[in-house]
Symmetry: none
Subunit: 448 residues, 2 copies
């Protein structure tokens, strides 16, 4: 691969320039800004590789860029997204979010880490391969969506409508990844699922003077009582049946989790806490983080929340709750268990609003694509990657991979200071070129 690497080096400035052009184009899914324009840029870049590429329309959503290249060997699906998070709060950016700027070897712009850097690096790796190694030893199949940052709301229906195009891939390279705080490359093979709900309770038809609290029901109390039945002080989720559906992690997943470095003191310091929840520590904390579901109050709102005191009996109360899910705890199941749990305790007055869900995804840590990614990472980073059976976060991997029987692995050009979803999002250019080389080695290993 010497010629591949020389080609990347010789074209480094142009490659960074291409990424800058892509990052300069806003593509904010939450605000519906620039999505089609960005999809067209990705399609055009695919065509310049010689790929067949087109936009597949999604009713009421942003188009998916679909591309194919190569006519022999196993099929590798590449999943990326061209949309980005909103840039707000704008005043916290050192340079404007959509005016990419290089400082100290880092490229700053919204989306460079999540997910335009990985999108472009992988395309450029294919260019370098074709220019230096000849024909591709794999069939590549790109799926680049434009709604990842708003929960991939149409990806499930896209997969249903286009199953014939997608089925049969032998592996999938998922969108993103980073080096960890100790600069070790990370590979991940799955994601937790999520079910996001809003619980709402209503009381009197308007806020009342709190002196009426002797006889008028208080929705804030109803909410507190209901919530307190969902999880106990020992951090055990007590939704009826919830934990019964947690599949024990496969032994191979536990085996790789055992190897994950865990600098407990550094993590606590970074979070500003003295101890983890319920005093959990060491390897138990790692397993809990990877393999256990959550039930998290993300927001609470009721009555008067301003300065000082206001003696009001609230007329409504609201909690936002996310449930991070693991196999076999699926979003619809979690939602049903929650409803039944509340009803069984008389909390039929608590309305549950479904704010969207994604099933958990789990690929084997020793699939063909995972093993090829490990080999590629070892070569590029000169050290074995840290393999995560899954992330503790969520994403739409289930629809594209688990559902179609395609194993996935994820890796990317981020690092621990990438400020993903935050102001001053950035990547280190050295990591960017590493990801191009990683993609080259992955093509080689997967096609071997």
């Amino acid at each position: 691969m010497d010629r591949f690497n020389q080609y990347v080096e010789a074209n480094a400035d142009r490659f960074v320039g291409e990424l800058i052009s892509l990052a300069r184009q806003p593509s904010i899914a939450a605000q519906g800004i620039g999505l089609r324009e960005t999809a067209e840029m990705v399609r055009a870049r695919l065509e310049r590789l010689g790929a067949t590429a087109r936009l597949i329309e999604v009713e009421g959503g942003a188009p998916v860029v679909f591309g194919e290249l190569g006519d022999r060997g196993p099929t590798l699906m590449i999943y990326n997204h061209y949309d980005v998070q909103p840039p707000e709060p704008l005043h916290l950016w050192t340079t404007p979010a959509f005016e990419p700027a290089i400082r100290d070897g880092k490229l700053y712009a919204r989306g460079v880490a999540d997910n335009k850097g990985n999108t472009m690096a992988r395309l450029q790796a294919v260019e370098a391969w074709l220019a230096t190694q000849g024909d591709l030893p794999v069939r590549l199949r790109w799926v680049v969506e434009g709604e990842e940052e708003v929960g991939s709301v149409h990806l499930e229906s896209f997969v249903e409508a286009n199953e014939g195009l997608l089925r049969g891939a032998d592996g999938c390279l998922w969108e993103a990844g980073s080096r960890d705080v100790a600069e070790r490359p990370m590979l991940t093979c799955g994601l937790k699922g999520i079910m996001y709900v809003e619980l709402r309770v209503r009381g009197a038809s308007r806020d009342l003077h709190s002196s009426t609290a002797t006889i008028v029901p208080n929705p804030a109390w109803r909410l507190v009582w209901a919530l307190s039945t969902l999880k106990d002080e020992h951090d055990r989720i007590t939704i009826d049946g919830y934990l019964d559906h947690v599949a024990p992690p496969p032994s191979e997943a536990v085996a790789v989790a055992e190897q994950i470095p865990f600098d407990e003191a550094a993590l606590k310091q970074s979070y500003g806490i003295d101890q983890f929840i319920n005093g959990v520590t060491g390897r138990e904390a790692v397993y809990k983080n990877l393999f256990m579901p959550t039930c998290t109050i993300c927001g609470l709102d009721s009555g008067y929340t301003g300065e000082g005191s206001k003696t009001v009996l609230p007329s409504q109360a609201m909690a936002k709750v996310d449930l991070r899910l693991v196999p076999n705890l699926l979003p619809d199941l979690a939602l049903r268990l929650l409803r039944e749990h509340l009803d069984r305790r008389g909390f039929t007055d608590i309305e549950i609003i479904d704010r969207g869900g994604e099933p958990p995804a789990r690929s084997p840590v020793d699939s063909k694509v995972a093993l090829a990614a490990r080999r590629a990472a070892e070569i590029v980073y000169n050290q074995p990657p840290v393999v995560y059976p899954n992330m503790s976060g969520s994403g739409p991997q289930y629809y594209l991979c688990d559902h179609l029987g395609i194993p996935a692995v994820s890796s990317g050009c981020g690092y621990s200071g990438s400020n993903v979803h935050a102001p001053d999002e950035n990547i280190r250019l050295a990591d960017y070129f590493d990801h191009i080389r990683f993609m080259g080695e992955l093509i080689r290993a997967f096609g071997a």
Copy 2:
């Protein structure tokens, strides 16, 4: 009193105009807005009556307007407050809170019912008396404070520092009152006490991605668990020892409470509820409302409370809680019981911020001023008033009355739809003029 009533009628437009001017002036104690300006307006109005009036400064607080008028007969203290509740939530007001508007014979503005309407009506009654009846048969002594809506935090020290000015009054007309749902005038002889606290919990040093909820403590959960130990789903307050300190009401208080009409269906309809808390009903609801303490969540705030979903692990959580107190449950005692209760259950991480307290107050139902008020009400409203041994609300009556041995009675221009402390606060103008007439009759009866 025909000439008195004719005078009120002849000056009706000007009187309403004066109230509108006072209501247009914001005076939000919780936010420190407009207090001195409003105090000056009240002082100036007293001086236009011929009263001696001045602002008595209160260190670190809003000034108290103190006024005196009359040189013979028994002394009647008049207690009012010129501050109002915050106007939020602003979007629920039909017309802006500080832009008084008349619709269908009602005047809408923050403070018209609580307490600027009564304040102004009583001043105008004295004007009408002087213009039509000659000298006052009573000595009037006004105490108009500016911190009632934040728990009269400095009234106790004001009374201590000015005891010589205050002691020796023969009775006190307290700030407020209303007609009940069946349009009967109400008189009240006491108040519940209150202890207002803010409970605060902190977690990580910043909001984190909610995927970390497996191992990072969530202050919102801590708060929910702690709150859920304070009161149970059967509406029983479970703060250790709290109910042990509830004194049984005196028999004369129970005797008048027995006579209080209670239109359960109308009250439920007015609140927009199907049943009272825990299914309490009939006379039991009346006694509970008058004689039992409360523990009320007035506000909840944590994490993300905006539109849609945001997967955040909150770094802090807050609840505002008020405890309405009855004899002998005093604010300091309630605060201590709460702290001990939480500590005993391991909630030492929950900070309790003292937002002020007031002891419960109880005057005899047959004092000179109470009997004079009954007579005045009978004349003005053409029916006997309903006498309450105490209100279910709170106020600083203990400091000014119980502590100085001055019996109190309360009456005012509100009605059951006044939306006190809520958006669209309003009074009916007919009630306003009735309260002016009531004050005239009270002067006559008390001075007889």
